[in-house]
């Protein structure tokens, strides 16, 4: 048992470190390091432009999408090299936020289902950040039950005509392309009548409307499709086989290892270390210490769980199922941490302005953003189902709509 790199890993790390040292946008390092959930970063700079510039620089030097094949804009690196890169990229990795969906989900789906010519055309600019992609799956009537989606695609000559509405689409407002899951046959059970496409987000009939979140920010959008035309050549996988195609996409969503999930603990520990309560330093208060210790072991448990997965990658093995706990644990923890940090401030915890609030309002921002983390990318309840079914081998829920044609599933009057 050790935490040492193999000689090859050490050589790779040294090369990555040297390149980052020489090329990263150092002027933003401090701001990026301090950023946390719920706080937009980089005052006085357009974060999209900074992020795109950094991504392009990485791509030109062969450091973008490390695990992708070289011909598609990657480096052909091993999974452990990808992890080492993420460790070394550190706070600059936060600039990759706008590319996560494209690189983590759209790219792998294109790689598995697009034609060779399309892959060579679309993947390199996706890797380099010159083109940004989004994923158009969720709908008002299909969130956790994504196969219940209603957006129609109808064949007309060599084209498909799309009508319907998507929702919770991250980054649609700055995306150039998207992958789109549609219903092509409503007369068969819901999983059997879906088809996947990719499309140009500038196509006529596509309308993107930002959603104002409960936190006041707008990360997500509604996307409306009115007679949008997509050529059949942009279909991914067979007609009505879209569910299987989407599983490739969703599988990749949960494969990210090594970047580490935000728990809020380091911020809370620092805060308690400096906070003075009436009777003395917060960190010397018994109840504060107890709460901190409980959060500390969750945070360290997640950190070492991720190290176990990294060790498996280092040995060329597939990581075990234990990494599936990350999002579930961190999501509710960050919310509790935020509430507790406000509790420690007493009535003044209500203030969120950067000049009035402790730590410039970091915990107030975290509090307001936190509910979203427990819903996006699989709700806490879906994550528990996944652990129960895929890890523990418990039976799936009984699905009352499993063998019912989609157009006969009751909707309580909602179309």
């Amino acid at each position: 048992m050790n935490f040492d790199d193999t000689p090859q890993e050490a050589a790779f790390r040294a090369e990555a470190k040297a390149w980052i040292q020489a090329n990263a946008p150092k002027q933003y390092e401090e701001e990026l390091r301090k950023s946390s959930l719920g706080r937009s970063v980089l005052k006085g700079a357009n974060i999209l432009e900074v992020a795109k510039a950094w991504q392009k620089k990485k791509a030109d030097a062969g450091w973008a999408c490390l695990h992708w094949p070289k011909e598609y804009g990657g480096r052909g690196a091993s999974p452990i090299e990808r992890v080492i890169w993420q460790q070394e990229e550190g706070p600059f990795g936060k600039l990759s936020g706008m590319f996560i969906i494209g690189h983590g989900m759209c790219g792998p789906t294109m790689m598995a289902f697009a034609g060779e010519e399309q892959k060579r055309k679309y993947l390199p600019p996706l890797a380099s950040g010159e083109k940004v992609w989004c994923q158009l799956f969720s709908e008002p009537a299909g969130g956790s039950d994504v196969a219940g989606l209603r957006t129609r695609a109808e064949k007309k000559g060599d084209d498909w005509i799309i009508n319907g509405q998507k929702i919770w689409t991250s980054g649609a407002h700055y995306s150039d392309y998207g992958i789109l899951l549609t219903r092509t046959d409503p007369t068969v059970p819901k999983h059997k009548g879906l088809t996947m496409f990719f499309l140009d987000m500038k196509s006529p009939g596509v309308e993107v409307r930002p959603i104002k979140q409960a936190s006041g920010q707008s990360d997500f959008n509604e996307v409306y499709f009115t007679d949008v035309k997509i050529p059949d050549s942009q279909r991914l996988g067979a007609v009505n086989d879209g569910w299987n195609v989407s599983l490739t996409t969703l599988m990749n969503e949960r494969m990210s290892i090594g970047a580490g999930v935000a728990t809020g603990f380091p911020e809370l520990f620092d805060f308690c270390n400096s906070l003075m309560l009436e009777d003395g330093p917060a960190i010397e208060d018994r109840s504060v210490r107890s709460r901190l210790a409980n959060y500390a072991v969750k945070a360290s448990g997640l950190r070492y769980t991720s190290m176990r997965a990294i060790s498996a990658l280092s040995k060329g093995e597939r990581p075990g199922p234990e990494n599936s706990i990350g999002k579930l644990v961190a999501g509710s923890m960050v919310q509790e941490v935020a509430m507790y940090a406000l509790d420690l401030q007493g009535a003044a915890g209500v203030l969120s302005g950067p000049d009035d609030a402790e730590v410039a309002g970091k915990f107030q921002a975290m509090l307001l953003r936190a509910p979203g983390t427990r819903v996006e990318g699989g709700t806490d309840e879906i994550m528990r189902n996944i652990i129960a079914e895929r890890v523990l081998g418990l039976p799936g829920d009984i699905r009352v709509d499993k063998d019912v044609p989609f157009n006969q599933i009751p909707t309580k009057g909602r179309a």
Partner: protein
């Protein structure tokens, strides 16, 4: 990075699991639970023959000379099997204290007997209610004799020797405490068995009346040695707790797959699935914290105090959580004497206390994190 046990260590875990599955089925645990024996003597001898009792004891003292990572994987299996033997008091506490502070003669006298299963050892620390603290130690040492009462002492009624924490000064500082080694069969010590929550692991009251004892380690160093012994034992006991957590989770999962209600396996209800998923989460967090503790223990890293406290807290929480919810998943049957669930529930809640309770270790963890932060 190789943050995992080696193939050899995993093979040792498999061997221990196989051995314990054969030699320590729930029926054997029940012999002790029902009071038919103070501990499983046959199993104890078997563990000695397998080399498990002395796995971390150097060869020159009659052990296998493997190491603490090997001891961790065996500890996990002892917890999984709920083994009714004085393993933790003898191996994690007494042997570790001897290895840390014993003279060559003391090691030669006791360590080979531990490895061969001839001697059971323990640590006599507590004197009634409360967590580890130098202030709580009143038992007096003077002129090479001990006088006072220790309770609860794990496995105290069956132990052949004990490491005893005693007061040798009155300055109010940690240096008032020294450790002693005492042969409990040599007279001067009265042992009384005490009723406790987990009858498969005995607890006793030891009364010392001018009992002859020899110093263990330097005078005034007792508290410092004890702190190190407790840290090392915390990691090892945490592996037992993780083994117990995993077993409780498996029992709950198996029952949920088997039990039919409302026309379907109860494991298909989300209310039940989510209980089990949460058990998996706490068991996984604990296991990962324990791996870090194992690394720190085996390399004697400066991170050991913090790693030990984190492993201890996480594993205590996981075992309590998994063992209580295993009963919940079993419903009424889980609350019967006949089903094995309560044996894990009892063990979870006694191991949660034996080295100092959760609140003690929470306090320790934050102290140690602060120290690291300030450094």
């Amino acid at each position: 990075m190789n943050f995992d046990f080696s193939d050899d260590q995993k093979q040792m875990r498999d061997a221990a699991r196989k051995f314990l599955a054969e030699q320590c089925p729930p029926k054997a645990v029940r012999e002790v639970l029902d009071g038919k024996a103070a501990y499983d003597k046959k199993l104890w001898q078997g563990l000695a023959e397998m080399g498990f009792l002395g796995v971390a004891i150097p060869e020159e003292f009659g052990g296998a000379g493997a190491g603490h990572l090997e001891l961790c994987v065996i500890a996990e299996e002892m917890g999984r099997a709920n083994a009714p033997v004085p393993f933790s008091s003898t191996v994690y506490l007494a042997a570790e204290a001897l290895l840390l502070a014993g003279s060559d003669a003391q090691k030669r006298k006791w360590l080979p007997k531990i490895a061969s299963g001839e001697a059971i050892g323990t640590l006599a620390l507590f004197e009634g209610k409360g967590n580890p603290s130098p202030k709580a130690i009143k038992l007096q040492a003077s002129g090479g004799t001990l006088s006072g009462v220790k309770k609860p002492v794990p496995d105290g009624a069956i132990a052949d020797f004990a490491v005893v924490a005693a007061r040798t000064g009155s300055s109010g500082r940690d240096s008032d405490i020294s450790l002693f080694l005492i042969d409990l069969k040599a007279g001067g010590v009265e042992a009384k068995s005490l009723t406790n929550v987990d009858p498969t692991r005995g607890q006793a009251e030891l009364t010392f009346k001018n009992a002859k004892a020899e110093p263990l380690g330097a005078a005034g160093e007792g508290w410092s040695i004890l702190t190190q012994v407790l840290d090392r034992a915390a990691v090892l006991l945490a592996f037992e707790q993780v083994g117990g957590s995993d077993r409780a989770l498996e029992m709950g999962r198996d029952y949920a797959l088997d039990r039919i209600a409302f026309g379907r396996p109860i494991g298909s209800f989300q209310a039940v699935k989510h209980i089990l998923a949460d058990m998996y989460v706490s068991a996984t967090l604990a296991r990962s914290n324990c791996y870090y503790g194992a690394w720190a223990l085996s390399t004697n890293a400066s991170e050991l105090p913090e790693a030990a406290a984190a492993a201890r807290i996480s594993a205590t929480q996981a075992f309590q959580h998994c063992s209580k919810n295993n009963i919940q998943v079993h419903g009424g049957m889980g609350f019967t004497w006949e089903f094995d669930c309560h044996m894990y529930y009892r063990r979870a809640n006694t191991t949660a206390l034996t080295l100092g309770s959760l609140s003690y270790w929470e306090d320790q963890l934050i102290d140690r994190m602060r120290k690291k932060n300030a450094a």
